[in-house]
Symmetry: D2
Subunit: 353 residues, 4 copies
């Protein structure tokens, strides 16, 4: 932490700051320039409340030096974290495509879309059982019924399941059905929930909050990692800006920034990050070109009849075209999309993924 004194700071004010730095168990290191003095507060990496220096006379600004996250950082773990999800490598050389409807609406809808995305080349199935909705009057998800349908789709297609957790008490049930627990954007700083999924030791897909900085996303991941749960997947899903032509603004910069700051896998959700199906494929291509480790894509057999997010959902044939294009872009950046997995009647998979 660097404490930057005002140009008008007196010797006494500087001494006072130094005293408080030392009272915090830190070493104080003075740099005295022509214009002003800067006091370095050098410690052992333990967090110090920078704000306590704001009240001291003569202090202009306080600049933190240490990154506040440790376990999530590349410096802590230089190699990419790769983990196996029911045969799929996440964070490895292959681009992972997770697809499915926003909400599980009924058995036939989910089975149809699960089959379609598998055939098109998806490696995992998404589908919401509990839905965070802006309006209390909107469809809130089928709950456990949806989970049973997801289990059936898993059985039929061999695809692992990603579904959202909204509350701590849902966790025991969800981990019986889901391969990956998704934390939605609105819950990215729901620390009680982060704590609980951390303790669950279940894989987590953590979506960036719509106004969270990249650093705050890593701090949220740190909450989960600090409980010993190392299987955390990050997901950029668009941030909120002044632009209204799209639902959110895809922060494509966040892909290479995250890849340089952390060892965790980074996905892009082009459905939420644009909000309009017609832009999804272009932005999916951009995500993979920028270095994303995978995609999370909303697909619905009949988007105009969807209970939620219909406007940003792809029809199965458009999703198949997306996968085709992603294969090309992946190759251009030295990566690949795993070939389509064949399943037999028992839902057992054949062929390497």
């Amino acid at each position: 932490m660097m404490i930057i004194m005002r140009t008008t700071a007196t010797r006494n004010q500087i001494d006072e700051v130094v005293k408080i730095v030392q009272a915090n168990g830190l070493r104080a290191h003075l740099s005295t320039g022509e214009e002003r003095t800067i006091i370095g507060a050098i410690g052992d990496g333990r967090p110090v409340q920078k704000e306590q220096f704001f009240h001291l006379p003569g202090v202009d600004r306080v600049v933190p030096i240490s990154r506040p996250y440790k376990l999530a950082s590349r410096e802590f773990s230089p190699a990419n974290s790769i983990f196996n999800l029911d045969g799929i490598q996440i964070g490895g050389e292959n681009i992972v495509i997770i697809a499915g409807p926003c909400s599980v609406e009924c058995r036939s809808q989910l089975m149809e879309v699960a089959e379609a995305v598998r055939e098109a080349g998806a490696q995992a199935l998404r589908g919401g059982a509990y839905k965070p909705r802006t309006s209390p009057y909107s469809f809130q998800g089928l709950g456990e019924t949806a989970l049973e349908i997801l289990a059936e789709a898993r059985q039929a297609t061999g695809l692992p399941i990603v579904t959202e957790v909204m509350a701590i008490e849902q966790i025991p049930l969800l981990i019986r059905y889901a391969d990956v627990l998704q934390i939605g954007a609105r819950n990215m700083q729901n620390y009680s929930l982060l704590h609980a999924v951390g303790e669950s030791q279940h894989p987590v897909l953590l979506k960036r909050g719509m106004s969270a900085t990249v650093e705050e996303l890593l701090m949220a991941a740190e909450y989960i990692l600090s409980h010993g749960n190392r299987r955390v997947i990050l997901c950029e899903r668009g941030i909120r800006t002044f632009e209204t032509a799209t639902r959110n603004t895809t922060d494509i910069n966040a892909i290479p920034v995250l890849k340089s700051m952390t060892h965790l896998p980074v996905l892009l959700d082009p459905s939420h990050s644009t909000g309009y199906w017609e832009y999804v494929t272009a932005i999916a291509r951009a995500g993979v070109a920028a270095g994303a480790d995978g995609l999370l894509v909303e697909v619905h057999p009949d988007p105009a009849a969807a209970y939620s997010d219909g406007g940003q959902s792809l029809k199965p044939e458009r999703f198949a075209e997306l996968v085709r294009q992603i294969r090309g872009v992946a190759q251009a950046v030295g990566r690949s999309v795993a070939p389509v997995v064949k399943v037999n009647n028992n839902g057992q998979t054949h062929g390497s993924r």
Copy 2:
């Protein structure tokens, strides 16, 4: 809902949209201009998925007409909602000042600040028992111990208690100690929690999310109201923008906007909305001048030693000066701040509030 067709839309495309509007149980109303056709989808106020029209050929944009909130709207309830909190009127003519430390740190800290804010003129005491912290390594609050200290302060000063709820399972405990449950900015769209505090029937102070629109804040309030819990207080606490000179940007416009859109009481938290103690008093004055029904202010006996938010906390004497200035501004806008309440040794209050 208005469905705006492209200038190039064909007759067949228009007919198709009309058919789907009608299939949703709505009446379709065509306005045909020189340039384009607009289809009004007129219904009975039930929510319709506007996004389902995005996929239809010839559609340019879809514009919602109805406000998505009902119970929170001024149209639903034209008069200000005023409710009584242990003798204090919230939402009435008097400006309500709630003050106290960010976190309860220990008994002596809280008792000292509780006494000080009461003497300075606060009508309620705030203090965190469970703290949402960006870092898992930061102080997370004293939990139930803090609640016991708050209860003691309540006994000693007669001030009702406002404290934050972070998880559903904390509610039963918190309602035994707290007069008002605070939902923090990061949990404004934690719908499971909103649902649960709605059912609790306990007064709720709902803080605006840092990137939530005013409309989304009202939708979050609607979640609570829709469970029959009508004692909801809204609180502007700053939004996230590009400006870094302050911690957040106080959306002062939100005060008159909310007062025109909703009947619920609206407070301002100038501590979080600025992030620096030196701006708190000026922005508190601005909030009351703009029409806020009250303030939520962080006060700490020794901000430089605070476990959290020290940089934005006022010392008790500065808080007393804030209250003095607020009295003047309140009077200028035709309102007032209640006189200081005297308490006897048993914590019983004297004098009208």
Copy 3:
């Protein structure tokens, strides 16, 4: 400037940075912590390109220390800058209210509004002759004809004139008619224009760009000040954020922040910062409560017929009510609004301002 090395930086990388710091004529000052080394680059205040260090191996981040503005800073000039504008003190104890229509539309419109705002208590008249409009097909202002009408209004009411300059070549004409040249938000970083108004030595009202930081506003002021033109008035007029309930978001924090950073007078334009007439008065009150030195308010005799900005313009009687309320708030914060100035038939003023 502090150059923060990565935790993994080698001794050689540190030495290389030190060498380049010294090659820039700066002293290098090392702070070596447990985790990492920080190199202070200490100079004589001349600007150094911090970006040149981004390419050097082992560098994590570079943190500037010096404020980039000098002449605009409170440290340079601790006392408030107060200057006289045709008898009005700007930046002094009195709140200055500048009012008038967005555009000068015709003689009768301007004369009517000029008379009305003077009677209501305005101290200066605003009115656009050259209008920056988003659309090339919108009304672009009456140009020199408008200036002649403004001159007539000045003669009749005694009010000094504030009008916008959009291009360098307009300056010679404008300074013949206008007492203050306004730089609009969209031109805040039009450096050629800033340079030219700086050289003009004419008073300047500089509006904050809609996505400019407070620091960038001060840098724009510095452009003008650096040409020896010290009569610069700053104006907050709302910033662009995600919120769409209002046209802009009034950055009310900017008022006390600017007052602490600079000695220049700071106004608020509540018309643009809200975009809706119904919120203008509340936000005008907030601005004065927060410490603004004055207001810039759009007034139109018939807003529904205005060529531009009708939706945010006050009718004269509402403006008179605004002034009345502002007098109350000004008094509450220890300031005042000058009494209404009487003019005789020759436009000569009576009574002190």
Copy 4:
């Protein structure tokens, strides 16, 4: 334009709005729902001040229907605008790469970088002669000397020149030297300058303002197009958001959005849109994958010694690698980058571009 009445609007209020709609020469079209009435104001496409309806009693909101730009729209001109720039097709099948230093610093710097970018595969050379700088104390460009150096580089390499225009009076000089006039982000709404470059009939590269919406960018283009100058190239260069990990946030969504809204060519500037050289190549790939027609990239022979933007400039060898990678991505999306052009000693080019 749709005028949405409040649910509480009276019959008289509705009639009053209809009267004013008609007084504007528009037809009024009523849709009467269960909850409220909507009045369509149907005209011949001429702009109408929507704000004039804000003051009328009973009006809730006003929703514009027509897009405010015409000449820039895809509906006006469905096919891509392709134009020839000294042998290069802009907006066609080939990806165009424009590269060079932020500022022309001296003859040897520019000649070295011009040669290097040509050899690496750039099709045009950028370099600033007049520089918009945040600080009046920073390097402001070499002016005409820079233009002479650019002309020499053009002669030597055969690359057409892109350089920024900051003021109207620079235009006559600049069009003698430059093939394309660049309008910088800070001048995107400098309407006097847009007007003047429109009249110049010279090709224009128009950069998006840092807080301009996509629609405002198209309105700025409309200013130029409305003067009959059809050679306008749009450029996304990052927008300002709350995220501070990068200098700006690349609005990658804007690429497909613009391609669907307008026929004009769309470039991406990954140097400004990220601000850090290490992210430039990844974001350049993303831009081409998303559908951009070209790139604008800052290259400097010695970024650590650059007078401006060194931190985001690529070294020539890194730029060569960028072009190599872009060739791969272009191919994956069905496009290509023109082969490197050979020049003879007289600067004459050989081979097709």
